[in-house]
Amino acid sequence: MTTTAEPTTTPSPEVGKARVRKEDARLITGRTRYTDAITPQGTLHIHVVRSPLAHAKVLGVDKSEAAASPGVIGVYTAADLGVESVGLPCAWPITPDMKAPQRPLLASSTVHFAGEGVAVVVARSAAEARDAADLVDVDYEELEPVLDMEAALAEGATLVHPDLGTNENATWVLDSGEAGTGGRIGDAIAAAEADPDSVVVKRRFRQQRLIPAFMEPRSCVVDPSGEQLTIYAATQVPHILRTMTTVTMGLNESKVRVIAPDVGGGFGGKIGVLPEEMLCVALANKLRRPVKWTETRSESMLAAHHGRDQIQDITITAKRDGTVTGLDVHLLADMGAYLGLVGPGVPILGAFMYNAIYKIPALKFSCTNVFTTKTLTDAYRGAGRPEATFAIERIMDELAVELGRDPMDLRKQNWIPHEEFPFTTVAGLTYDSGNYEQATAQAVEMFDYDGLRREQEERRRNNDPVQLGIGISTFTEMCGIAPSRLLGSLSYGAGGWEAASVRMLATGKVEVTTGASPHGQGHETAFSQIVADQLGVPFEDVEILHGDTQVSPKGLDTYGSRSLVVGGIAVVKAVDKVIAKARKIAAHLLEASEDDLEFADGTFTVRGTDKGKAIQEIAFAAFVAHDYPEDMEPSLDADAVYDPENFSYPHGTHLAAVEIDTETGRVHLRKYVCVDDVGTVINPLIVEGQVHGGLAQGIAQALFEEANYDEQGTLVNGTLVDYTLPSAADLPNFDTAVVSTPATSNPLGVKGVGEAGTIASTPAIVNGVLDALRHLGVRDIEMPTTSQRVWRAIQEAQGRSTQQTPVDTHSPGAGLGSIDPNNPQEEEVQ
């Protein structure tokens, strides 16, 4: 059948269209497949008995009363399950001599953080398991908690893991002098100290501990009833979970299937191989019944990995004319009690970003990871890069103050000018593209920078009780994790490629599988838009399949803003192969040379004629296989694995106008403008959504969130009542815009966007808070910059002493959250 290619109107391209996400209807209504909604026939439920103490010997576990509780199938310790020697994996040994403790499925002799599992109850229902867990009687002997990183490294400190002989996990160094990518920082500092026309500015910043607080609690169901053990998990990393499960539990990889159904958020918090997941595997194999675990919100806050928690000692050197000459970074990073899947590498991901958008001739980064008796830390939105961006953007403001310069002018003086791209940085990365001038110019105009500076001046002059601050963050990040060889050089335990397959169905519809694993980002919509354009088929005809190792057997999942820039390019490469195959068949059917065919809008046309074949026709021809070239298989389907050659480097300029009520300390974010350069935009609506969500989390670090531990090592704000996540009511309308300098490192020109808002916004806010208060003598305020901290900083700067902030965190009164779960009060509650 030969059709005449009619002159039709060219369909408008899908890429760039602000499509509402096709997955939204089912995700937002909850009428979809979240893990906890999956309950195979005969499922048993587990509840983990967790230690209330941060550090204690386990002297005994009395299971008798729990075992006799209604519905209970069994109560097990690690010894009962024979898993005492099983250790959960850490995939990132950052140094050859890194100290790594065994991270057990359940603590046997010692618990190392409050929330660690000691025993597991299996029952017919989740409620019966929960009831029986209260009846497990664990006898603890309390040990000294290890809470402060500097104290933990001091001589004679209590050791979290005495067998390691130290609380230091590892020290990792990046030194531009050693690496040959720049000068020696020691020389830069010595030169600056000796030079009256130079300055040395040192500051200590604290990255408080944060809780990822994804909406869907973690959950897994392990079903042993098929030939393959099937693990349903609320995870970001089904492929990694499959491989790691087999390694951890000694299973045959071909006997394990992992399905990540719809996953309700992760933010890095669902990158992991969890003790509870492995317990379910052990129990399902032992009991030959499906086993389910779904955590409560309280368990999630307490035991799911946390993020950040670093002390940053930053030294910057510069000429008095503003030229930066060196940057010295020394970090302490709290690992918590154990190493997570990529935990020790998280601060290292930031190492390359301290120089940010600036031309800095000498850089040294050194990070010492420390064990404490707290919940372990691992990836949280941005993972290392928010910390780096905060430090450099804060110290640039400090330098501006020191030099009496406008902070924006100082940045302009030091950033990489547009015409110098591609630019190889002092950290050894090559930034392929960027245009800091363009993003900044647009942001400054949208913000009315000059107008707000004038208002600020006026408020200062009038001694207005409400002072105005302007916060700047001109950030970049590296995303699209990652070139596999580079990961190899960092001793990471896997590559950074991504896989995709395209299947042309007989009816001309298209199934695309991706190894990326969405948990709210909108892969299905964005990837469909890309494929629709590339293949010239309707958006509605493209199905994106993911998250099941049977459906998409190869993949490295979703984190590090990699899905589009790595996974999306893999899709493009697979589509290219489909088109190449289709071209052969089209040429055969049209009796033309391949070279004479043009492919546009889904149709191959013989150049200069009106003869053509639509891709759907060719798909059908391949399916019936009655007539196809002899030198090929009758199939258009194709696979691709794409290993990126470089990271991508989104950047942007974020500006915050912050009002501070100096009488109460209240910080009011009045206006927030950001102009992000994320390269080619596939779907502007998704980009804006990612930016908004990212901003909310970055601003939350600056203003609202902190996981607080008391002196016993107990998390004291482990509910959403007192772990103060902001809501829309706490945030302004964001003024967002995008500019596009396409990446040159991939065929779509895309850069990542998932983490940009989070990485950029935190320093913009804190710089704004301090900018509002500097004239009052305030030099620094720790995050989160709560009203109390701001008020005290003002009092102290004005020479009025106030009582210390530390307070009785167990005092009742301030709402539900302050009811201490460890010391419940007798109350009248209605």
Partner: protein, 283 residues
């Protein structure tokens, strides 16, 4: 989150509820909207054997004009209070405080009686009830009794409601034509009050003729700032006079210290917020 096992009854009358409470004994709890009780149950900070739901008692819902009082059934939701014209006209301060409670979902479920009987010192409804001299109608086996707000709040989470008794109605004197304002300070928009001030004033010819001031979360119970009230009466409603009066806001308080605010900061806030609340109410 799964609470411990409990029995549940939903009586249709106050008499049935009182009977259920007597039969349930010490381990019975009343649920009156559940916006505080349910989280506590789910966290297993409480494990009552019986939960008595007042949600089925129609006579406990509604707002009526009762002569010189506005009578509000204990099971009237925040949402119903917010949109009620009688409240707007005669007890505006109650509506203003109610508007600041948590979020829309909570305001549809939570009830005035539930909040007052729960008596969380950080709750927003106690201070207006105290400042406005509300009366609490409490039903028991032997009938009903009326307790003035000043005697109702006893301690943390403790009220004058006795064993086997139920709060059925809250009666507010009318403050028609008064100015009022609820000034709340919290960490996030949906959080509990770190400190809040409830103010109603009657301004006559530019000077303050009468004043009512209640404080939220400045002690184990809502606190009446009588020192401020006294200092305000007879003063011109100027910023200066009001601020001077507001300096007495911490008299008789016992500000708690917690992670959000240590006592000295709370005391400072109480003074600043009292000044602002009075200014707004008088303005």
């Amino acid at each position: 989150m799964i609470p411990a096992k409990f029995d549940y009854v939903k009586p249709a009358s106050v008499a049935d509820a009182v009977r259920a409470l007597r039969e349930g004994g010490d381990d019975a709890k009343i649920i009156a909207g559940g916006q505080s009780l349910l989280p506590v149950l789910r966290l297993r900070l409480a494990a009552p054997s019986l939960v008595i739901d007042l949600g089925g008692i129609a006579e406990l819902r509604g707002i009526r004009d009762d002569g010189d009082r506005i009578a509000i059934g204990a099971m009237t939701s925040y949402y119903d209070i917010l949109r009620d014209d009688l409240v707007k006209q005669h007890v505006a301060l109650l509506g203003q405080a109610t508007e600041t409670v948590a979020d829309n979902q909570v305001r549809h479920r939570g009830t005035l009686g539930g909040a007052l009987a729960h008596a969380d010192p950080a709750g927003d409804l106690g201070a207006p009830a105290l400042a406005l001299d509300a009366e609490m109608v409490i039903a028991g086996e032997s009938g009903t009794r009326t307790v003035p707000a000043a005697e109702f709040f006893v301690d943390y989470f403790t009220t004058a409601i006795g064993e086997g008794e139920i709060l059925t109605e809250i009666r507010f004197p009318k403050y028609t034509g008064w100015g009022s304002h609820y000034e709340k300070f919290n960490r996030t928009a949906q959080a509990w009050s770190m400190c809040a001030v409830a103010v109603a004033v009657r301004v006559d010819g530019g000077s303050i003729a009468e004043a009512r001031v209640g404080l939220t979360n400045m002690g184990t119970t809502p606190i009446r700032a009588t020192g401020v009230e006294q200092a305000l009466v007879g003063q011109q409603a100027t910023a200066e006079a009001i601020r001077a009066a507001a300096d007495r806001a911490t008299e008789g308080t016992a500000a708690p210290s917690d992670a959000d605010a240590a006592a000295d900061y709370r005391e400072h806030l109480a003074r600043v917020l009292t000044g602002r609340a009075v200014l707004a109410a008088a303005g």
